[in-house]
Amino acid sequence: MKKMEIEFILNGKKRKIEVKPNDLLINIIREDLYLTGTKYGCGLGECGVCTVLLNGEPVLSCLTLAITVDGKEITTIEGLAQGDELHPLQKAFLKNGAVQCGFCTPGMILTATALLRENPDATEDEIRNYMRGNLCRCTGYVQIIKAIKECTSIKNKGLTN
């Protein structure tokens, strides 16, 4: 199968790369670009561990053809920190014990960034609803919800929902 060149922005940097039409985005990110923060779970859209941001919105890289992101902007978990300074959600996850084995964490945090941008005052119910496609086998979710809640706007912080 003929390879085609695509150009896209990955974590703020322009990348040019040759892909085959049937290459999945997840494999290009992990195996060609060596960013292994994005995880592979079910491969069928059920678990959310392969979540990346496409033009800022969460999508599943296991169901995305790499060739379709030509001209677009992709953010993976590696793109959130500013140098050595972790993203507030990353800090909150660490602080609250929301990372155990860590396999779900990249997808969780990326999804949560989109939630908080859309709805900075998200209530616990809204957080649970938005995060429902990201599965975690370790934490029981309580610490994850708590960490996200801590990053909602000041106005909302004191409330228990």
Binding site: N22, T51, P58, N134
Partner: protein, 296 residues
């Protein structure tokens, strides 16, 4: 077990930027295994799990003509419009609440950022969550090919499980939803095993109210037959009548008798019948209240 890690199919890929380019491709490759790629949330899963073969893949997401929603006496929704785009629109939430509820019941946000409304229709699953609401609102589809176009009611589009009347050189370019009657109340209801699951039963109802009377109504159920089913006899019980609790109860009972569910991994047929009765009753109540009708 199938391999979900790679796509093993080899195909040629096209990304047309205009509708006419896409239609030329469909026309040229109509005798081959040619597939349209919208969100890919059904197509890629099927390629991975069922190994369906594809020779030519046409990505329709960069066609600007089909990327927007026109708000003009109803809604005209292009084939590349994502579900999450629709759920964020005030007009969808307020004027077509059953569609809003159907969309937001689906999967999770990442899937809805990828998936399209037209993809849900063309996939023609009996469990497709947007189909009952769209039938309630009398949606039509604009179908185009190199040779011309036709507009047909959604109700006539799906012919069986995974099957539509689409010809091989055609695609659906737009969903057309008419303006709702001023006192229409509508609602959607779905039961899965857990939230965000594929439905055991999903349904939508719409009641047009004229004073105490139901001037017209639609009761549309999914996952209970090879395609979405309208409970015509149940609708007949309500149409033209003064709405009372006992009438809603008998309409719900009738709807449960009209469906033809199957036993499968998600439920037995018996359970689905009983569930349908309760769900139709509850949803009719909600719709009647939304139509401005009084409760007793």
């Amino acid at each position: 077990m199938h391999n979900t890690r790679f796509l093993t199919q080899e195909f040629e890929y096209f990304v047309p930027h205009t509708l006419s380019e896409a239609l030329d491709l469909l026309f040229t490759y109509q005798d081959k295994r040619t597939k349209i790629l919208a969100g890919g949330t059904d197509l890629l899963v099927k390629m991975k799990t069922l190994g369906i073969g594809v020779d030519y893949l046409i990505n329709i997401n960069e066609i600007s003509e089909i990327k927007n929603v026109e708000l003009d006496k109803g809604l005209k929704i292009g084939a590349a419009v994502k579900l999450s785009q629709l759920e964020k629109m005030k007009a969808v939430k307020e004027e077509y609440p059953a569609l809003y509820e159907g969309i937001t019941s689906m999967a999770a946000i990442a899937i809805r950022n990828m998936a399209t409304l037209v993809g849900n229709i063309c996939n023609a699953s009996p469990a497709g969550d947007t189909i009952p609401p769209l039938v309630v609102y009398g949606a039509k589809l604009r179908i185009v090919s190199k040779k011309g176009e036709r507009v047909i009611p959604l109700e006539d589009f799906i012919s069986g499980v995974g099957e539509t009347i689409l010809k091989r050189d055609e695609l659906v370019s737009q969903v057309i939803i008419p303006e709702p009657y001023k006192d229409l109340g509508s609602a959607f209801c779905k039961k899965g095993r857990v939230k965000a699951d594929i439905a055991k039963i999903n349904l939508a109802v719409g009641i047009e109210r004229d004073g105490d009377i139901c001037r017209d109504c639609r009761i549309v159920l999914g996952s209970v037959f090879s395609k979405t089913l309208r409970a015509y006899k149940s609708e007949e019980i309500l149409r033209g009548k003064v709405i009372k609790d006992d009438l809603i109860i008998s309409a719900a009972k009738r709807a449960a008798e009209e469906i033809k569910p199957i036993d499968d991994v998600r439920s037995t047929a018996e359970y689905r019948n009983e569930l349908a009765r309760v769900m139709v009753e509850d949803t009719l109540h909600i719709a009647w209240e939304r139509a401005g009708g009084k409760r007793w």
